[in-house]
Symmetry: C2
Subunit: 133 residues, 2 copies
């Protein structure tokens, strides 16, 4: 079934939302933030291309990594045209974010270890019976 009579591969916002698991509201927000672009129908409705599914997934990934819209917006031009002159600034930014991300990962690993220790302690108490302290 092709619900569209549009050009090949053109997606309406609702379809893109379903395909990416991101709300329609958020897709519009991404556009407002310059993270996603669309063409418009004569009537003003947004049309997306197939590859935007991938782009939205990437944006979501960066969001999940704690990057802000602003930061993501700085990196994306680099994804679109890696040879662009903007890439110097974007590279610096990316290196910076990579560092931040690594540090965060390390912190999370330490936290997981702390949780493991805590769970081990609780298990030890429990398995030893509720006797002596």
């Amino acid at each position: 079934m092709r619900p569209t009579s549009q050009r090949e591969g053109a997606l309406r916002i609702g379809e893109l939302a379903v395909r990416t698991g991101v709300s329609v509201r958020s897709l519009r927000y991404y556009e407002e933030q310059g993270l996603l672009s669309s063409t418009r129908s004569a009537g003003g409705q947004r049309h997306y291309a197939e590859h935007d599914v991938e782009r939205v997934a990437f944006v979501q990934r960066l969001y999940a990594a704690g990057l802000s819209s602003r930061t993501i917006a700085e990196l994306l031009p680099c994804v679109d045209s890696p040879s662009d002159e903007n890439s110097d600034a974007a590279m610096a930014r990316m290196a910076e974010e990579r560092e931040r991300l690594s540090a965060h990962i390390d912190e999370l690993l330490r936290t997981r270890d702390a949780l493991d220790d805590l769970m081990a302690t609780v298990r030890a108490y429990r398995d030893a019976g509720q006797v002596a302290v």
Copy 2:
């Protein structure tokens, strides 16, 4: 002897804030959320013990790992008294959060890889000269 002064090792909220790098406002918030307790002076001012420095650090660590106040509040009793009967529920909660945390770490690792790929791509373009695509 100063009969009216604080007990040995008692910290005022400002001191605890400095020692932990957490704002006074946040320390009060932690107390409101049941993550931190204090004794009060006759005049109503909060006093903390040395070990609260450690506790605040732990709470911060969990916050940084994305746990909510509510979740942290469920885990802490377990830290305080590991043999408590609450520990069954807390253990389940902890296991759950550990899983969530692991999944998140994996996601972040994949994101870091994606950033690395992106940076490599940009470098490749750059090092190859600005040849037309």
